[in-house]
Symmetry: C2
Subunit: 295 residues, 2 copies
């Protein structure tokens, strides 16, 4: 599998719908990068060896370390969850080897606490990697927005606790069907409508009330229909952030792509927090690189 | 249209998906009743005269007064919204006559306030009718749960303000598609899982976080999948009620069918309120009867 005896390896952030793969050298530098729609949802059971072979054709015949939904029930093999608090070394210690494919799958992280259950797969590598690389302090609040946004509290460089918020999925559902769907065709970008939505979502008595307000505002001529998607996205993001920040608005480290990162940074600022953006590629590779040193 | 010269009339609570029609006598008593799926969504443009003729075949050749989504853009004719506060007499004064069909369509009610926009069509008749009939006090908090639940504050027997919460629609969307859909096949009834969900939804930092908790609890073996629908319904209803009750938990008058009425009464009690249930048929007909006296 590694006939070149290169010390390089392939790191994969393998989510439900997206895959990001990197060729990484012994110093942890990214030498090549592939990002595509080959998410765990799109790979058939039994299809992983062939998919990995294709990836190695592109990035080199190297060992693979993969994190994310590839290690879930809907992925290749279900790896266990480690209960928070966790470190990268602990994740390495609980990793699953698929020897025949020279591949290591990292475990997920769970929270099984009185205040609620939670799970994640993949985001833990980015958050711990950002801390390992000094991109965020060892004690920090990290936000990874998305389909199921993660809010991770780091303490002493470990994941102390976290919470998932299904903001992106709710927006997709509302856009797909129901009484708001017709109104949500427009673009979502930072602007007045988005900011108004953030304020409404943060101040609302409930998310369900603020979302209905989108429809009412359009019906009453208060909100141009072309702005309704930005407004409703703001409502969802505002409700999420207000819930997480509470009264103690401090610094939030956002690990996200440019589009979501810009929306969340704007909303966090509007709600009294300070947003610091961290590159998600750098964070992920730093996490895998620190983890593989412990394998 | 009224060859029998009967003083009776037909009152219709004509919603998006359901229609409830009553033959009412001069004293306001219900003589006959039809409830079916002939909602405004299912009647084609131009189809109303034929649909009304069918209804008159069943209930008698009588004048019709109809409230609800029949008077919206997706119904027969778009009637205006009256801005709260409103009374039944004001609704009568702004009603739309469809003379050729001997039919009166009542207007909707809107709220166009700094704290948010809102609209309703149909629920105002039930709430004001309940007050007119003495089923609720003139100063009361009224809850009408459903696809878009309404929380109406009555003051001096008028609708002073109100809020819509799209609880039922969110549940339907989550059941139809997305990461929870597979888990939400089970029944929704009052029980431990529903009550746990109500508590979780009321205490959660955000609705999106509490909903994700449903999935996490199933994955971690904390929630049997057969109970997940009841739990998630509880989360949504708990978040709605906690938002509306706030810290001032008092008496809530619920106008609902048996199934939703039971769920909301249980949840309101759990969250420190006192629930009083009011029959929705009686409330609606009382409202139309008082209104038609002002036509």
């Amino acid at each position: 599998m590694n006939p070149t005896a290169s010390p390089d390896y392939i790191a994969i952030d393998w989510g439900t719908s997206r895959r990001r793969a990197y060729r990484v050298d012994a110093a942890g530098r990214i030498l090549a990068r592939i990002e595509d729609d080959c998410g765990a949802r799109s790979v058939a059971a039994g299809g992983y060896p062939a998919v990995l072979a294709g990836l190695r054709d592109a990035l080199g015949p190297l060992p693979v370390i993969a994190a994310g939904m590839v290690g879930s029930q809907l992925g290749w093999q279900s790896t266990p969850y480690l209960s928070a608090p966790v470190t990268l070394a602990a994740l390495a210690g609980a990793a699953t080897r698929v020897t025949a494919e020279d591949c290591t799958l990292t475990p997920g992280v769970s929270l099984d606490a009185a205040e609620g259950c939670d799970v994640m797969r993949g985001e833990e590598i980015q958050a711990l990697g950002a801390a390992a690389a000094g991109l965020v302090p060892p004690d920090a609040l990290v936000c990874q927005p998305g389909t199921h946004s993660k809010w991770i509290t780091l303490a002493d460089g470990r994941i102390a606790t976290f919470r998932s918020v299904m903001t992106g999925e709710l927006f997709a559902l509302l856009r797909g069907d129901g009484s708001l769907a017709m109104l949500l065709d427009g673009p979502v970008a930072v602007g007045v409508a988005f900011r108004d939505g953030v304020s409404a979502g943060a101040a609302a008595r409930s998310l369900g009330a603020a979302l209905f307000g989108t429809r009412a505002a359009v019906l009453l001529g208060r909100l141009p229909v072309g702005n309704a998607a930005a407004y409703a996205s703001g409502v969802l993001i505002g409700a999420e952030i207000a819930g997480e920040l509470g009264d103690a608005a401090g610094t939030v480290y956002i690990i996200a792509d440019d589009r979501l990162g810009a929306l969340y940074a704007e909303a966090i600022g509007l709600l009294g927090g300070a947003a610091v953006r961290v590159d998600s590629h750098t964070a992920f590779v730093a996490g895998i690189h620190a983890l593989q040193a412990s394998l």
